[in-house]
Symmetry: D4
């Protein structure tokens, strides 16, 4: 399905690979089937970067099994998101685990040196948004980025945000995280010249509707360069920010 | 139903008014029934201020009829909201009408001198919000307020708003009008120390959902002193702003 | 960002302040950064009124830390909203705390004498709305207002409300709090001549949708002078009511 | 399916009716199949009351066809709802039609004398609700009820409603029709001792959401004895009110 | 506010009552203010029927207090809805309480003999709807009605419903209770000639959205004579059914 | 991507096909790229059945272009859905077109003889649902099925539906089409033993919300064997019904 | 109500059955009324297949009672869905129960040999969807189908799905189960030529809204042959899949 | 507010600029106030790139006025989005305008040579999504990017998408545009290693709810690296894609 097809076709042509083996290769290579999951081995091999296990709804046993499969296939760094302290405790018996409680993230292996274009700023509207922000920040760090945290800079006290104009103006990518009215993304989007990834959070009450209000606000942002990920999706924002921050490096 | 009941009761006790007349007075006095509408005559008499006809869904004939009833009962200034240019044309044949096209407002009678505590600032996020803003501004002016208009100061270009910090800081009441993400109310609410009336507008597309996004954003504002009226309800904001701006005068 | 900028510019011109110090002043002054929060010190200094800590989602330790910072900077009265009895217990070990259980509010320092234009009426539709009402009432009291409580005066038994016509007619501001159908705001708005702040509550079941029904009802109120705050936002209503009730005093 | 089955069974047993005819009777009797519609002939025969054609989405030709079928089967009075003036024009060429423009109702045949327990009160919150109210009122009249109309008695001007306390207190059934916040049903429900049928209307703008706000408000009414029909469903309310008003007569 | 006003006015005229006493009477008579609630004493006195305490969100102490006030004022039968077994246990220490666990209803005093026009049928779509059905049925019984229960007659097994055609055809009022798709109301509405009160329930999962699906289905019923109350509102349906079933008796 | 890959691989191995040609074949074969559309040629070749052009949002010119491409590639019968009379007029100048106005469907080529397992019943709740029903029926007919139409058999007049029990009981697949409360699917699902495809329609007003009420009702159907397609999606239902009706034939 | 009516009519005609007995037969035969439930005995007798008890909201005692009634009436295999491990434990004391924990299904009696047209493929997007998938798979197996499970083949790693192209291409019916964005149904629908039953699951967070996002995605699928059942309704999908897979066998 | 503040402060210190002029500069510089709009002049000067006028809701006269202001201030290329053919006609009388009808975009000035990191792929699910895609593509081109268009590659015919694996695998940024079920973003996100910007479109009917279904689907995408902009927001996607594609160039 990828550009490897040409290579396999050439090997078939040259008689180096049989038709059945070629078929097998196409189907079997990119993941390992361990019953309850099909572990993706593709991306890790190609990129050398961290592979991710989405921990929510998986038992510690399943997480260990998937990690085993990844490590066996040469993965060096594994990021486990949405993993509770209890589950992390159990996993850490099998694998040395760097557990970040606030981010609910466990890390197996080393965090690489920052290597991207510039700095990723992770900003939150309030104190309650910090867990989502930490998920984003740690994800970005594990993928080799330098991260600056700007917490509690919500627009209702604009001076708190403006005091950090320098960091905002010089960022490579900004992750704007807010619940309630979610205006942070628009204001930052208006100040900055770089891509802004907006993360609505489920922080709030009443008409915040579990993050819907912030989500709609962010989708309707008049500022250019703003895009949005799912409510509370700190990982997605951190991963995308890293991707953008490594643009020139990758190519 | 008001404090007049005591007066009527005293007249009944003193034999100055019969039971039947008293009953009649209680029921009949405060409005005139002209079939399709029960014209409220109470507020105008008491306050000497402008009376309002909500023009939407009323025929020019009905508007004229209600205005006739009001004028007959001593009303000096009448504000007709949500009236089309065509309807205004017809009404103006019966009554001298000052028609404000952008605000879709017609005014019968004189606009009083500004008399409130201070200035009402009417701010909009964009150019398309101006009709709602004009409805608010003209309503406030007709009720005796000095109004400053700050249009197109949306948060995506924060410097446009900050350039007017002085007007915002010295306002008596601010009406913050915005569609799309509706962040204007929060930012102004964070800058100002006076009551902020937020008006979501139906300006926008896609996930703005006809003003719902701005409405939710404003309801969730973290800034203190912000309250919200219905989508596109410029009149309601202007009326309430005037009420607040006349607080000390009324008492 | 405020009018202090001129002063700073003048000091720079006169050589009394260096460029770097000026930059620092602009950025640093109005809040203290204590890691998990940026404590706003601006408003308190200017107004001499109570400063507020939104307790929801903050640990007792964080609340104590923020209160410490405020007290250190001269704040006399601190209002802690949405704080549980357990958290209040812990906070009270560090600071003398006046805890109001029903309102879930803790108060550090003295409640000032009432000083506003008139009286704030806090009315509820039912018994279950009382916690929100107490949050509004105590907030208003802590900010220096005289408060009258009218509980359980819902419109389904109109005589209960009409028996209090006098209080309603003579109020300076009214906070109308109701769940279910939320009609209380409209009826009070029709009776009163003062600003009415409507607070929908999450009281109800079925199609009340956690307060959405009341919220929509209040936003659609035909009565003039009614504005709305977020569901269950007693604090916001009390704060705004106090702001309005002090209009003439402030200017 | 009805109690006629016993009769048919007895006829089959007695040999008076063949099995095939019995089957045919069960299937064929209660309606006439005219292709695009299956005209219900059951209710009219049994009750002698008016039969109804829901005109929306039917061509004048289809309406005429259905009316023909009804008249042919002995129906005396036919009520055609939601029929435009244009369609009524065409229908009136075939059948003498009493067309009520505001209610968008056409009547074939005579309106019976009022025969119910008491009076049906049809009340509206505003002037714009009148078309729905007329649909309800005319429907009730055509089914033999005395109707009192109370238009424009919305709760934002409570005295307009209270002036009609007598009519409300002495009604047999009340139909409360309102858009916007829909509070009318609750207030009337609290005043009256009879069943109240609430009809939300699509009158309003912004957060009225085409009648949803009024609908939710009415469903959440705290007043006992209130039930709700679909948005703008004047016919349904009028029909049900007639049913209730004829309770003792029917039995 | 009721027709007693004339009587009071006549007493004032005749000097039998002073103005202040008259004012007092108007305001004070119809309810007792016990702080957390304003106990309505009006309806009970006039009707001699059961008075209702909505138990949800009230402490056992508050329920006892309200019951005390009612009994002190001559109320004979009291219906307490939405009261848990635990609360009922506590209340029963002060008052002899007939507790119906499935309906979550407590009854103080005697259940009157059935006195209405005919029979009230309470039908449910499934077994899980029974608690709501019992709330409706017991409410109707306490208000003096004969009730027939038809449980688990949902439309997906139509023969179960059709087997009870006789009860349906001869009912005075029918309460149709269903969750999930809520089609029961339409089918019964098509079979019956009496008023049908539809009660959506929160029974279901997924796209039933806590009763919204059933609610919408019932509001859109094509059958005439169907009206709807709030989700799970068994009490409201039972009360309204009783009201309709006593139509001819009341007048 | 299909099982043809083996064949191509074998040809590459045998030197009969070059690597580049193989790559080309994989990419190029199953569709023709005509700029504004990628015409799918796969299914038609394999199945010999009708190919479909979704006409909505396509110009007559685009439709003609796609049809040309299909015919050129050997397609015998083409079904054009959601095509207006005007567009059909234009298309018919290039291709002989059998246009079914009510279904808004155009057919190029012959309609095959019915060949499925049994009969497909297409039932509607009302007269206004007929256009959707015709879209479903014609689609099924064009794909080689015998169709029985049962229109206007809504559940509010249950006898109309029960009179057709025979057709329902002996159907191979049933398409149940209804707007408003959408109960038809559940009732038919309870009567029949075959798969029932429910199609909600946008017929209705008020709380029908453009078909949402019927959609939810159908999704919540308690009857087994019922599944749902999009609102107004008559084509999808007809296509799926045909697929099911040809189950044993295909294998 | 079924075709048995003719037989009963003939018996009545021939004097073999009395009118009363005939009436009784029609009403009584197809279910047994055991108070809290009306046990359907019809389908089981006719089909000889498994009968189903929906366990949610039923006590173990009620489940045992219903199973007793079914077994007494000759049912051989009973499927109990949505039954907790605890309830299964209790039921297993009365009946030998094959409990499948992940599917939350209990089976009384034997699972028949697979007898359908072909194979039913049950595919899931992720690991968390497995419980719903097992409910579908076991339901299909109990009704006599061969089932292939393809778990964790979500579209975000397309190669995992494409590696199973053979199973997908040769399936008789496919059940596509996914939460989050629900794209699996569309992609499988595009690959396969057989009916695809889409089951949205409540797996996800944030804007997945408990399965609504997946539900909408599946309803809007552009792929032909896709229909949808309720969120998490694995049973419904398995039952319908079996019905389709036995099409030719049944007729 | 930007880093220019230091420069201004230094000039004030050095006496080169007066305090009043400094204040003026801060407030006045970055935009020109032309009454109905505050034209932003900041970004254009700094970046030398195209400036944008959002044409929706602006009269041709207003557009010309804003363009005049931009050109006067040195802007070379202006992009006017959402401008109708009629408005473009009028604008072109004042300024030479390159109007792209399908994209509803007008361009004043030259389109720069492509200068980014790599190629931007713009893919659509169907033919009807092309206008949004053109808005995105032209926006990207005007900002100096090479764009590849892949139209009508929706997931229901997966081979159409897979045939373009090469373009997808080698893209720098991908814009995935789809209505209906919006699955395209997930599938592309799973295939590609670059940032994917998802644009839901309002294309569809029924339960597509004007793009909400696609929006939710995209927000819930399981594929990493996907973020979302507002419904139909082609411009926003094109602008952000250009920003990302110029990451290394900017720094």
């Amino acid at each position: 399905m990828r550009s490897d097809i040409r290579k396999i076709l050439e090997q078939v042509r040259d008689g180096n690979v049989s038709v059945d083996d070629a078929l097998l290769t196409i189907k079997k290579e990119p993941f390992e089937d361990i019953g309850y999951a099909k572990v993706d081995l593709h991306r890790s091999i190609r990129q050398g970067a961290a592979e991710v296990i989405y921990g929510a709804g998986k038992t510690p046993g399943q997480i260990i099994g998937i990690a085993d499969s990844m490590l066996k296939n040469g993965q060096k760094t594994i990021l486990i998101t949405r993993i509770s302290a209890e589950a992390a405790q159990i996993v850490s018996r099998n694998h040395p685990l760097d557990y970040r409680k606030e981010a609910r993230i466990g890390i197996i292996g080393e965090i690489p040196e920052p290597s991207g274009i510039g700095t990723i700023v992770v900003a939150t509207g309030g104190t309650s948004d910090i867990p989502v922000a930490e998920e984003a920040a740690v994800t970005a760090e594990v993928h080799g980025n330098k991260v600056i945290r700007l917490f509690d800079v919500g627009v209702a006290g604009l001076h708190r945000l403006l005091a950090h104009t320098d960091e905002i103006m010089s960022a490579s990518v900004i992750i704007a995280i807010a619940g309630m009215e979610g205006a942070l993304a628009s204001v930052i989007g208006g100040l900055a010249d770089c891509p802004v990834i907006a993360v609505p959070t489920s922080v709030g009450y009443g008409a915040s509707f579990g993050g819907v209000s912030a989500l709609l606000s962010m989708l309707n942002s008049c500022a250019s360069g703003v895009s949005v990920v799912n409510i509370d999706n700190g990982f997605g924002a951190g991963y995308l920010a890293s991707m953008i921050n490594h643009m020139s490096v990758n190519e």
